[in-house]
Every structure is written in structure tokens, then in C-alpha cells.
């Protein structure tokens, strides 16, 4: 058991080191596209870390997490759009102006997606199991179609932002600096996530996933625990959405698409459910596959499908599970 834990810790360290080394190497040999790919890994990993709190810890199979990713994206898109057109977001009941400041955008993204997660969570957690899956999926579609019909912000075409938003003291237009920012956020969230897993809340949530009736008979409310997990989860995925929008300088309804909800789950599963670094490994493997298989064949998604089937049918622990052995109790 101790061996498995130490091995997992080593793997985690290696993953982080790799995620830093690759863009630094790319910087040295002047391959900015590779830096962009690494940034993409960091951001997708962040989205999946968010989902993993609901899915891995809380056991909530949410097929609608694209909602929060999209809300984060549109928070950036709307604020930056108003800033670049010098118009107000709202004039009533108070004047709200657009902004190009990342910290403000992030705050709005986190708060908005947390609120959405609260509302969706309260409704969806009235049900469980397969109903929960379908309902979260349906909420995803609801936001998707809403974004399409919302012509004020580009409707189906989405919104383009001409210049990447700013962060005090950094030049975010330089790829390696933007990567550093995303990587730092990912590390901070991973650290908070590690604390969360060991905290009283994490302990209770972990039990609520496994034996809800036991949690109830020690005087705790398993549904409320899961709801809070869902809100935290949605907020983190929302933050990832804001960063993703800034990476592409573009938002569109596809950020809300249910395929994307499916993809974030795939990231978590590829790496290993409930593992701290599972989402990071999953995101790295996904982006590499996308890039490498996508270069080999136009139909690379077939191969992604086959790999996914093999993992589901034969390798339940994901890649971290294969490398580190069966999961160990936290701490």
C-alpha cells in the first residue's frame, strides 16, 4: 500500500515536471505551437479536475459539465466584448462595464458557474443514477440552445475577442507567459483539491458516494454534501472555461455542447477516476492523441473510441491506475 502511494506520488511529480519541461523546450527551439498545446493541456486538465470532484469524489456522473465551461467562456466573452466595443454590459440597475482584466473575469466566471451549478444541482439531485445523468445532459442542451438563440452575443457564430485579456505584471500575449499563468492556476487548484480530499468534507463526501445511508445515520445530509461538491466542481470547470476562451480568443455555443461534456468525462477516465492527477494525465494523453492521431488520419476519433472502449472494458483504473496499482485510501 505504501509502495503504491509512493509510486503514485512519483508519477504525479513526473507529470508536473513533464508539463513544465515540454513548453520550456518548445521555447528554446522556438515552437510556439507546442506551447499552445501545453497550455491547452493545462486548461483542459483544470476543467477535468473540476469534474473529478463531482464525479470521482461525489460519484455524480454529470453529463452536463460543459454548461460551466461555457458559462466561464461566455463570462470572458461578454465582458471582453463590451470592453472592446466600449459599451456597457448593463446600465440598469447599475452601470456595469466590460473589462479586459483576467482576475475580474475569473471572479465573474467562478461566481456565475457556481450559481448555475447550485440551481442545476438542487434540481438534478432530487434524482439519482440514470436520471441524474440524463438531466444534467438536458440542462447542457438547454444552455447550448440558449447560446445559439442569443443573437446579442453572436448566436451560433460566437464572439471573437481581438486581444487576449491582461493580467497585472504579465504580457499574456507571450505564449510562455500565458502558459505559466494557466499552469500556476492548475497547480494551485490541484493543491486545494488535495487538501479537500483529506478534509472533513472530503471524508464525508467520500462516504456519501459509497454508503449514503450510513452518512445519513451519523447525522449528515448526503445530498447536501453532494450539492456542495457539485458547486465547487462547477466553479472550477467555469474558471477553466474562462481560460480556454482566452487561449482561443473566441467563444461559441460549442463550449456548451454535450460532446464536450462527454470529452471532460473521458479526460477523467483516461487518467483514472478519483485520482488527484488523473485529469492531468488524461488531458495530456488526450491532447497528444488528438494531435498525433489527428495528424495520421482524418478519422482519429474512431481510434479514440476504440481506446476508450478498451479502457472501459479492460482497464478500470485508467492510466494512473495501471501505473500505480490499485488506489490507496487518501492519507
Amino acid at each position: 500500500m505504501i509502495g503504491g502511494m509512493r509510486r503514485e506520488a512519483l508519477i504525479n511529480l513526473a507529470v508536473l515536471a513533464g508539463l513544465v519541461a515540454v513548453p520550456l523546450w518548445a521555447l528554446a527551439v522556438d515552437e510556439p505551437f507546442t506551447i499552445t498545446l501545453a497550455t491547452r493541456v493545462a486548461i483542459l486538465a483544470l476543467a477535468a479536475v473540476g469534474l473529478n470532484i463531482a464525479l470521482g469524489l461525489g460519484g455524480l456522473v454529470s453529463l452536463g459539465h460543459a454548461v460551466f465551461f461555457g458559462i466561464g467562456g461566455y463570462a470572458m466573452g461578454i465582458l471582453a466584448h463590451h470592453a472592446q466595443t466600449y459599451t456597457a454590459v448593463a446600465e440598469w440597475p447599475m452601470l456595469i462595464e466590460g473589462t479586459k482584466s483576467m482576475p475580474v473575469i475569473w471572479l465573474v466566471a467562478v461566481v456565475a458557474s457556481a450559481l448555475a451549478a447550485l440551481v442545476i444541482g438542487v434540481l438534478s439531485l432530487r434524482t439519482s443514477g440514470v436520471y441524474f445523468i440524463m438531466i444534467t445532459l438536458a440542462f447542457g442542451q438547454m444552455f447550448f440552445y440558449f447560446a445559439i438563440s442569443w443573437s446579442a452575443y453572436g448566436g451560433e457564430d460566437g464572439l471573437s475577442i481581438y486581444v487576449r485579456n491582461g493580467f497585472p505584471g504579465l504580457n499574456t500575449l507571450v505564449p510562455i507567459q500565458f502558459f505559466g499563468l494557466c499552469f500556476a492556476i492548475l497547480c494551485a487548484v490541484l493543491w486545494l483539491n488535495a487538501r479537500l480530499m483529506r478534509s472533513p468534507f472530503g471524508l464525508a463526501l467520500n462516504a456519501a458516494r459509497q454508503v449514503p445511508v450510513r452518512v445519513e445515520t451519523v447525522g449528515l445530509n448526503p445530498v447536501r454534501l453532494k450539492l456542495v461538491a457539485f458547486v465547487i466542481s462547477g466553479a472550477i470547470t467555469g474558471l477553466a472555461g474562462a481560460l480556454f476562451a482566452d487561449l482561443n480568443r473566441f467563444v461559441s455555443p460549442t463550449m456548451f455542447s454535450w460532446q464536450f461534456s462527454g470529452e471532460i468525462i473521458i479526460l477523467v477516465i483516461l487518467g483514472g477516476v478519483g485520482r488527484l492527477f488523473g485529469p492531468v494525465v488524461g488531458a495530456a494523453v488526450f491532447v497528444v492523441l488528438e494531435h498525433w492521431l489527428g495528424g495520421l488520419t482524418e478519422f482519429w476519433l474512431i481510434w479514440l473510441g476504440v481506446i476508450l472502449l478498451v479502457i472501459v472494458l479492460f482497464a478500470r483504473g485508467g492510466l494512473v491506475g495501471l501505473l500505480a496499482g490499485r488506489s490507496v485510501a487518501h492519507d
Binding site: L55, V61, L63, L123, R126, T127, S128, G129, V130, Y131, I133, M134, I135, L137, A138, F139, Q141, M142, Y145, F146, I148, S149, W150, S151, A152, W258, Q259, G262, I265, I266, I269, V273, F299, L301, I302, L304, G305, V306, L308, L309, I311, V312, L313, R316
Partner: protein, 306 residues
């Protein structure tokens, strides 16, 4: 707004509803009997549509095309059940979601590989083309009317199958008590393959029928799949009756909402803004309907109480 328009839209809603029912019936049966959530059901819809389009292009016969849609979708369904799906019955919902999501990727990209990215077209047969005059002088496309007829006929047929036949007794037994029917000597794995193929055939039929009024293209199945999920969540998972009521409700809400909500908001808002708000709300109407049903009854209208 004229009553003719209203009746026309109600018929459109019904037509949409019965086609959703063809999808939802298979989904709900598969969930009810095998406990499986099948995201790849939309792929079978697409397979049916492509099979029909290919056969129609080769033979020119719409009936042969429909037959091909049923046969190919059922066969593909049976093969997939034996190769992949039956390994998922004992696993949790997460695995089912992932594996069937993987199947979507394989089916969609495989179809694109075979047929290319451009949509195919399936023509309405001559005998069913053109409008027909209904009592009251309403002109309505005959083909859409035929779709309503086919959908209702399938609903009745399915009801008879489940309530009145030996296979139906086994299906109902399978929903209630798996061990029992295995103990009674029914070959449960054959029954499962049969149910899955039946669901697949219904999805394929829907794909072919709808393919003639829309285009046949990769990815056509997923929007319908998600609507079918909404239908069975509203109706109660596992209930055929629920699937029927849910499908009609969703079909009518979606169609009528798209027409009337913009008109409604124009009554007290500026026309442009009213249309905008109405259209936005209409695009979300069925999901709002679903939320309301769930708050009221978390297991759907006809679902077993948890």
C-alpha cells in the same frame, strides 16, 4: 393567428412527437429490461437513415429503403449488443455512458469514412408526396400525416407485443425479476439481444422516416437522442406508456413553443425584442417542462417510485 395555422402546428407537433416516441420506446425498453443507458441509440437512428438513403439511391424504392433501415439497424444493434453492450449490464452507469459514448465516436466517424461528410437526400415517395386536404379545408403534407399514422401504428403494435404475446410476457418479466425468468429456463442473453435489436430497429425506422423530410448526415442522431432522453425522463424511465405521453408532450411543446412564444412576447414587448425573448425561451421550453415535471415527480410521470 388563424385556427388553420394552429391545427397545422398541432399536427406538426404530433408528427414530431410520434417520431420521438420511436426513439424513446427503444431507449426506455433497453433501460427497463437491461438497466442500460445507451447513448449510442442515436447512432442506430443514423445507421437506419443511411441504410435507407443508400438503398433508395440504388433501387429507387422507398419501401425497400424502409425495409433496409429496419433490417440494417436491427442487425447492427444485435452485433453491437453481442460484441460490446452485454459486457456492460453488470457495470455501473458511468461505464455504460463511456462505452456507448465511444460507440458514438466509432459509428459517426465510421459513417463519415464510408459516406463522406456531405449530407445525403432521401426523397419522399411519389405516392405520399404533395398535400392532402383535411376536413375544414386545411392543406397538410400527406407524408407527414403518414408519419403520424406509422408512429401510432407502431405504438399500438408495441403495446400488443408487450401485453399480448409470449415474448412480451418475458420482456415484462425481465423488467421485474431477472433471476426468476432465468430460473424458469428463458435464455436471458437471447432475450436481451432481441430487445436491443428491437429498439435498434425502431430507431432505424425513425431515422429513415425523418431522413426523407430532413437531410441524412453524420451527427443527425444525437440531437434526437437527447430529446428522447428528455422524453423518457418526463415519462418515467422504463415505461412505454410514459414514453408515449412524454413524446407527444415534448413534440407539442417544442413545435407550438417555437411558433407561439415569440408571438406572445410581441404582445407586450417591441417586436424585435419580443421575437428574441420568445425564440430563446422556446428553444429551452422542453427543458423547462422537464424541470417542472421533475420537481413535481422526481421519477417521471409514469415511473416507479424510487
Amino acid at each position: 393567428m388563424s385556427s388553420i395555422l394552429i391545427i397545422e402546428q398541432v399536427l406538426n407537433g404530433l408528427q414530431f412527437g410520434v417520431m420521438l416516441f420511436l426513439m424513446a420506446a427503444g431507449l426506455t425498453l433497453i433501460f427497463g429490461v437491461m438497466g442500460l443507458i445507451n447513448l449510442a441509440h442515436g447512432s442506430l437512428y443514423m445507421v437506419g437513415a443511411f441504410a435507407a438513403a443508400a438503398v433508395a439511391a440504388a433501387t429507387g424504392s422507398f419501401l425497400l429503403a424502409l425495409g433496409a433501415a429496419l433490417a440494417v439497424a436491427a442487425a447492427v444493434g444485435a452485433v453491437v449488443e453481442v460484441a460490446v453492450i452485454r459486457r456492460l449490464y453488470a457495470t455501473d452507469h458511468l461505464d455504460q455512458v463511456l462505452a456507448t459514448f465511444a460507440l458514438i465516436l466509432i459509428f459517426s466517424e465510421g459513417t463519415r469514412y464510408l459516406f463522406g461528410s456531405f449530407p445525403l437526400y432521401l426523397d419522399i415517395p411519389d405516392a405520399l408526396s404533395g398535400p392532402v386536404t383535411l376536413p375544414g379545408g386545411i392543406q397538410y403534407p400527406l407524408y407527414r400525416l403518414a408519419l403520424i399514422g406509422v408512429g401510432l401504428a407502431v405504438a399500438v403494435g408495441l403495446w400488443l407485443l408487450i401485453e399480448r404475446t409470449r415474448v412480451g410476457i418475458r420482456i415484462r418479466a425481465g423488467e421485474n425479476d431477472r433471476e426468476m425468468i432465468a430460473a424458469l429456463g428463458v435464455d436471458i442473453s437471447k432475450l436481451y439481444t432481441l430487445v436491443f435489436a428491437l429498439g435498434a430497429a425502431l430507431a432505424g425506422l425513425a431515422g429513415a422516416l425523418v431522413g426523407a423530410i430532413q437531410s441524412v448526415q453524420v451527427g443527425m442522431g444525437e440531437p434526437v437522442l437527447i430529446l428522447a432522453f428528455v422524453v423518457i425522463v418526463i415519462g418515467g424511465i422504463g415505461s412505454i406508456k410514459g414514453a408515449f405521453v412524454g413524446a407527444i408532450l415534448v413534440g407539442l411543446t417544442d413545435t407550438l413553443g417555437g411558433i407561439f412564444l415569440p408571438e406572445f412576447f410581441k404582445l407586450f414587448m417591441e417586436p424585435a425584442a419580443g421575437t428574441q425573448v420568445g425564440a430563446s425561451l422556446a428553444s429551452m421550453a422542453i427543458y423547462i417542462l422537464m424541470s417542472v415535471v421533475l420537481v413535481w415527480r422526481p421519477t417521471g410521470l409514469f415511473g416507479a417510485r424510487a
